[in-house]
């Protein structure tokens, strides 16, 4: 206070103005959008720095690793399409995850639900008569089968939870192991889905699916390979959003999740709510499996789901119950994975290093989003 009295009038005015500016800057930083941008910048810088260190210590050139990443993730219209197609798998799994999460159910078995979805889609494409159907339905019918298979797989966990209170974390995880090994069996036996032994090198994988059953491209003439999966996923995102916010089922989900006793007393169908939550969640992951097969994979082989299920789970967690959040996180994961694959192939970075870098990025994002939600109270 004394200090203020000493300074002259003009100096005082200047000081006030300065205070004003700093206060404005301060409030600017409090603006949600600015905060988000700063955060993104921070996350990028931090993960780049850490990746740089790792690549350097590994004795490789960061420059070539980075350019490989860029080429793979968004270097051409084709890879952008591929990245987005990948993001769709994550988005579907994430959407299923946040739906079940409304009822405080954690479906962590997406990996297995993808596998059964893939099996079902393969079976229907190759032997289910999908190839003879008219063009518009030929690809949709196996997808529906994949959804149903995923729904059954999730539904088993839902039934166990609703009927006997079996912890869904355990049941979905164990069912996931079963499904992954089921897929292994399917591609090992010719009486199941393995391709017939007519070539000298018959790998343990299925025949490629007929062309008519693969996912139609959205812009066939252009360079991208974006497929119809994008439309399906966006539509389903609207469905999930409406279910969560405007349907009676969404109300039931929330009520059962917060307090099953009160929900039961209020006459809500607790059993079917739990069962359906996990079944729908499974159906979404199953659909991701179908898209994967009829999109870029075309054949069913071991390692088909290759960790998409678990990454999708992280997408769902990062989204914190928001449909838009699912898409944001899914895009990050889609581009990361495309870039990572290219880093492996072009820059000769071992896959372990790629995975470590991806892990670091995810942890940084997770930490940042946690910080953001804390700031928002």
């Amino acid at each position: 206070m004394q200090h203020r009295q000493i300074v002259s009038k003009s100096a005082l005015g200047w000081q006030v103005r300065l205070e004003h500016i700093t206060m404005n800057i301060h409030s600017l930083f409090k603006h949600p959008a600015v905060r988000l941008l700063t955060l993104l910048l921070g996350v990028s810088v931090l993960s780049l720095l850490l990746s740089f260190l790792i690549v350097q210590t590994y004795g490789l050139s960061f420059q070539s690793a980075w350019s490989a990443f860029v080429d793979g993730a968004w270097g051409s219209p084709y890879v952008i399409g591929a990245s987005i197609n990948r993001a769709l798998y994550f988005a579907l799994i994430g959407l299923g995850f946040i739906l079940a999460d409304q009822a405080k159910l954690a479906n962590i078995g997406a990996e297995g639900q993808i596998a059964v979805g893939g099996i079902a889609a393969t079976a229907l494409c190759l032997y289910g008569g999908a190839a003879h159907l008219p063009h518009g339905i030929a690809f949709a019918y196996p997808l529906l089968g994949a959804m149903l298979a995923g729904a059954c797989w999730g539904g088993i966990a839902g039934f166990l939870k609703a009927k006997m209170g079996t912890n869904e974390v355990i049941s979905t995880l164990l069912l996931s192991f079963i499904a992954v090994w089921l897929l292994y069996c399917c591609v090992q036996s010719e009486s199941l889905l393995k391709q017939p032994m007519n070539t000298s090198a018959s790998l343990p994988q299925s025949l490629p699916i007929p062309d008519s059953t693969s996912m139609p491209l959205l812009f066939a003439s252009s360079g991208t390979n974006l497929n119809v999966g994008l439309v399906i996923t966006v539509l389903l995102a609207f469905v999930i959003y409406t279910l969560m916010h405007y349907s009676r089922f969404g109300f039931h989900l929330k009520s059962v999740g917060h307090n099953a006793n009160s929900a039961k007393r209020a006459g809500m169908p607790v059993f079917s709510t739990i069962f359906l939550a996990l079944a729908i969640s499974g159906a979404f992951a199953g659909l991701a499996g179908g898209l994967m097969l009829q999109g870029d994979q075309q054949v069913l082989k071991t390692g088909f789901s290759s960790g998409y299920g678990f990454d999708g789970l992280v997408v769902g967690l990062l989204a914190r119950g928001s449909v838009l959040g699912v898409f944001a996180a899914a895009l990050v994961f889609g581009f990361l994975r495309s870039g990572g694959i290219n880093m492996e192939m072009v820059a000769q970075l071992p896959s372990a290093v790629v995975l470590v870098i991806q892990g670091i990025i995810v942890i940084t994002i997770a930490g940042a989003s946690r910080w953001l939600s804390k700031q928002e109270g």
Binding site: S255, S262, M268
Partner: protein, 523 residues
């Protein structure tokens, strides 16, 4: 309030604990008003009082969990205030809580040794010490059994042994018999006598008269935070003590509010009622819990139209089970209940609601509402049929109706969108009443402990709602452990004891002494 100076004047030579002018307030609520009490070595001093009289607060102050605002505690003649339970234990004060603090998956011996040793554990030495003590006290308990395999009474015995191996001078037992079966109670009381004979002072908190008759050497009666009566010949004075326990000063302000409101229907004798006037008919309802304890034993009762039937009783005598069965949350082991002649024994909560049974749950937060969800959602939790079409909810209409209900039932909140958990207890309960009373149809209302934890203003509103419901011709079953509430609101009072109806009286002829005796199990 009675003068209690004579208590402090008779300081004996072997005084273990002496409380002098203890006061304790929680905010504006005075939980303890000037408590003085004297406890001698070798005696069992019973502290008698209703729920909320301040018994637990007093125990917690002696044991160091709470600090007194005023007054002093003398432990064996020297000034002492335990700063924490650990400190109290160190100074020879031990307490057995109503809820056990045992580790289920370990043996009895390990539980006993817990917290006893510092540094190296000499298991064998300690075990043989404990065995000697057990032999001395004539305790029969296997030290190598897992705690989870013990019966409730045995677990409690382990708790007591846990206290005794510290050689306490003072043992506090907070309602130790609330969870026990009759034969276990007798065993416990015998143990208390044996422990007292060894020179330990025992402070036994209870509201069961049988126990007092059996073991107490002195009895102090606590009511609304003050000691209002004392006796060193409890067996002779038992009737007087009961009266002091439940007597209510007529000058009390809230009595105005609790005053009886005479309804026309109450004056009609049950025999004069037309046939088929009953709304609820409970027929030989029994419930045995999974551990084999009979919680509800062949209960038969009637609730007529335009009648409030109240169920009194110390908590844990089967009232909660009855409420759970009537609200569809628990399946009865035997017997039926009918609402307007319709057998609803195994109906789901939804069917009950559709048939017109409104339920005010005993534990609001467990079965009455969903605290993280909004007030509007909670107000219409079981009315969703009205707002859904093709699986979609009409949120706009739901919000509008919720706001109307808020207005009509005077539920105060910033908006209908605030999380239910942010509301005060009174407003929460008003919201629950709003929801249940606007059911369509509504034939019968079950209200369990409807005013628990509410402030006086909210209590008045709740009573008005209950009376209004009755006046509209509804049958009301009111379950409460507040005697004043029952006397103020009910038309007929049934008293539960150990899962059966031990007494029934018309509210107009009811007197506290009779009901108090029934509540304590004296038929």
């Amino acid at each position: 309030m009675m003068d209690v100076d004579y208590l402090t004047s008779q300081q004996g030579s072997a005084s273990v604990l002496s409380l002098q002018g203890i006061k304790k307030s929680f905010g504006a609520f005075q939980a303890l008003k000037q408590i003085s009490l004297e406890l001698h070595a070798g005696e069992i001093h019973c502290l008698l009082g209703e729920n909320g009289a301040g018994k637990s607060t007093l125990c917690n102050i002696i044991f160091g969990s709470l600090k007194a605002d005023e007054g002093q505690i003398l432990l064996q003649g020297s000034l002492f205030q335990a700063s924490s339970p650990k400190d109290a234990l160190h100074h020879g004060i031990a307490m057995v809580h109503q809820h056990f603090s045992l580790i289920e998956n370990t043996t009895v011996l390990d539980n006993l040794l817990l917290g006893r040793s510092s540094g190296v554990l000499n298991r064998q030495q300690q075990a043989s010490d404990i065995k000697n003590l057990l032999k001395e006290l004539n305790f029969d308990i296997d030290l190598n059994v897992q705690v989870k395999d013990l019966a409730v009474g045995e677990k409690q015995r382990v708790e007591i042994i846990k206290c005794l191996i510290r050689q306490p001078k003072l043992l506090i037992l907070d309602e130790p018999t609330a969870v026990l079966l009759p034969h276990e109670i007798n065993a416990l009381l015998r143990i208390c006598q044996r422990v007292a004979e060894r020179g330990c002072g025992i402070l036994l908190v209870t509201h069961k008269l049988a126990e007092i008759k059996q073991v107490a050497s002195k009895v102090s009666v606590l009511r609304s935070g003050a000691i209002v009566d004392f006796s060193d010949q409890p067996i002779q004075d038992i009737d007087r003590l009961v009266r002091s326990m439940i007597h209510k000063e007529s000058t009390d302000g809230e009595v105005q509010l609790l005053k009886r409101e005479v309804s026309q229907t109450r004056l009609v004798s049950p025999n004069a009622r037309p046939l088929h006037d009953e709304v609820l008919q409970v027929n030989g309802l029994s419930y045995t819990d999974p551990s084999g304890v009979k919680k509800l034993d062949n209960v038969t009762l009637l609730v007529n139209k335009a009648e409030i039937v109240a169920i009194a009783g110390v908590e844990g005598n089967g009232q909660s089970e009855l409420a759970s069965i009537l609200s569809g949350m628990l399946d009865a082991t035997a017997g039926q209940f009918f609402v307007e002649g319709q057998d609803l024994t195994h109906a789901s909560p939804k069917q009950l609601t559709q048939f017109g049974v409104g339920v005010i749950a005993e534990d609001r937060h467990d079965t009455g509402c969903i605290t993280p969800m909004s007030l509007a959602e909670n107000l219409l939790l079981n009315h969703l049929d009205r707002y859904s079409k093709f699986g979609f909810l009409n949120r706009k209409k739901l919000k509008a109706d919720a706001e109307q209900l808020m207005h009509r039932f005077d539920v105060r909140a910033a908006s209908s969108a605030v999380p239910f958990g942010r509301l005060s207890g009174g407003n929460q309960q008003k919201a629950v009443f709003a929801r249940e009373l606007t059911l369509n149809p509504l034939k019968f209302l079950l209200a369990s402990q409807p005013t628990r934890g509410l402030d006086v203003g909210a209590v008045a509103t709740i009573y008005n709602h209950i009376r209004d419901a009755r006046n509209k011709g509804l049958g009301v079953l009111l379950i409460s452990s507040e005697l004043d509430e029952l006397l103020a609101v009910a038309d007929r009072i049934l008293v539960f004891y150990r899962g059966t109806i031990i007494g029934e009286v018309h509210a107009a002829q009811a007197n506290r002494e009779q009901i108090g005796a029934w509540m304590a199990g004296q038929a």
